[in-house]
Amino acid sequence: MKLCSANTWEIFKRELRAYFESPVAYVFLIFYLMLIMFLTFFVSRFYEANQADLKYFFFWFPWVNLLLVPAATMRLWAEERRTGTIELLLTFPVTLTEALAGKFFAAWAFMSLATLLTFPIVITTAWLGDPDGGAVVGGYLGAILLAGAYVAVGILTSTTTRNQVIGFVLAFVVCLFLALAGWPPVTDIVNRWAPSWLVNAVASLSVMPHYESLQRGVIDLRDVVYYASVMVLALFGAYLVIENRKSA
């Protein structure tokens, strides 16, 4: 099973180009940046905190991505099914693994670009104060890994349908679970009536604890392994869905 073959690269390029061949990509990127800025400055009241601390900024990625990653991935397989191009793609001399990897890396690269384009906030903060460099690197690494996990989930749900909207909603629901299951405001409430071992077990599936530890600038291998596992599992699921339901 070769992941990074020439075929993966060809599919990667095609998918990435497909984003930019329609104006939707630019609208998407602008909307993404505006939403992050709005939430950071007006909802978190970043300036009024009077600290050069980016935690108010990184706080928003799991929530913004919840909405926008499924929008970026819903097309990937649903559209192939709807238009019938899946029949072309899978009769080319490529393996399903190569096709999945090409699409996954393209969507992840696109989301990473969206994430990194928020850099003016970091520059502004660095100019006004002295943010912790480790936390900035960890924060961005966490945000990109988180986007990758959501992208893999979005690809999985996109394989199940020929309707993009259904793909979007399913991805949103699964990612929402991944976010809320370990988010302290939710786990605190659930803790009042559920046994703590159960809450902890469910919370350990969540992206949140892993995201938060990276935000503090602690780059722990376990967090990276967690995100990699979510990606591999979701993509393996996508593989099984396509393999078993070619013409749906």
Binding site: R14, R17, S22, T83, G84, E87, L88, T91, F92, P93
Partner: protein, 246 residues
């Protein structure tokens, strides 16, 4: 060139293809006829490696589509039903992608694309997005991706469906011009197509082969000597049974 061995496809309780075997040699244009829902598309999809057969296999130039799918797929050019294409890409961009997937690089890649554009008469639309093209041009773009790598086996699922007479003529000319060095498999329910281009034909009904021969042989099976009468005689009454082949 192509050897189809006892192909079967079962979807739950429905058996869409029930043991189909035939061969096609280089230089042959083999027509696969049958009413809608007879199992033509399912057969094509198994031969091209899109659907896994429940039983049986197809061997393309010594490569078994089940055992060695990648090698077998390299030998096949496929034009699926309705000519699906990535609509947002330009004709050139799409063919460039296909050339890359087929493993061509550099000058050879360029040469392959140009040759496909020329053979399929796409010169005037090369930089146009595919979504802006007429049905006839889309069919030709899909044809171009199928012949770009000069495959030994060309499989076409209803290649002239929905085209006007002029467009049909162009597509048939292209098929004939490539017949000498390939085995070509064409599925159709348009009987005139068989007489116009095929050297041999098989008739499929309800997942079985019910007749095989040259167009002249088949016509001789009915006193009227007309292919549509033969077709009706062999396939009548069973057409609707297996339409739900998904």
């Amino acid at each position: 060139m192509l050897e189809v061995k006892n192909l079967r496809k079962r979807y739950g309780a429905i058996e869409a293809v029930r043991g189909i075997s035939f061969t096609a040699q280089k230089g042959e244009i083999l027509g696969v006829l049958g009413p809608n829902g007879a199992g033509k598309s399912t057969t094509m999809r198994m031969i091209t490696g899109f659907l896994p057969p429940t039983e049986g296999t197809a061997v393309i130039a010594d490569f078994d589509i089940v055992e060695q799918p990648i090698e077998a797929k390299r030998q096949i050019g496929y034009l699926p039903e309705n000519a699906p294409l990535y609509a947002e890409m330009t004709v050139f961009g799409f063919l460039d992608f296909v050339a890359g997937i087929r493993g061509y690089r550099g000058a050879e890649r360029r040469r392959r694309i140009e040759s496909a554009i020329e053979r399929c008469r796409l010169e005037t639309v090369r930089h146009q997005p595919i979504e802006t093209l007429s049905k006839g041009y889309r069919q030709r773009v899909c044809f171009a991706q199928a012949v770009l790598h000069d495959p030994l086996l060309l499989v076409m699922d209803e290649p002239t469906d929905g085209l006007d007479p002029n467009q049909k003529f162009v597509v048939r000319e292209m098929i004939r011009s490539m017949a000498a060095e390939k085995a070509i498999l064409i599925s159709t329910h348009i009987l005139e197509e068989v007489e116009a281009v095929c050297t041999r034909a098989i008739i499929i009904d309800a997942g079985h082969i019910v007749a095989e021969g040259t167009p002249a042989d088949l016509k001789a099976r009915h006193p009227s000597g007309r292919l549509d009468e033969v077709f009706r005689m062999l396939t009548q009454g069973t057409a609707e049974q297996v339409t739900a082949h998904r």
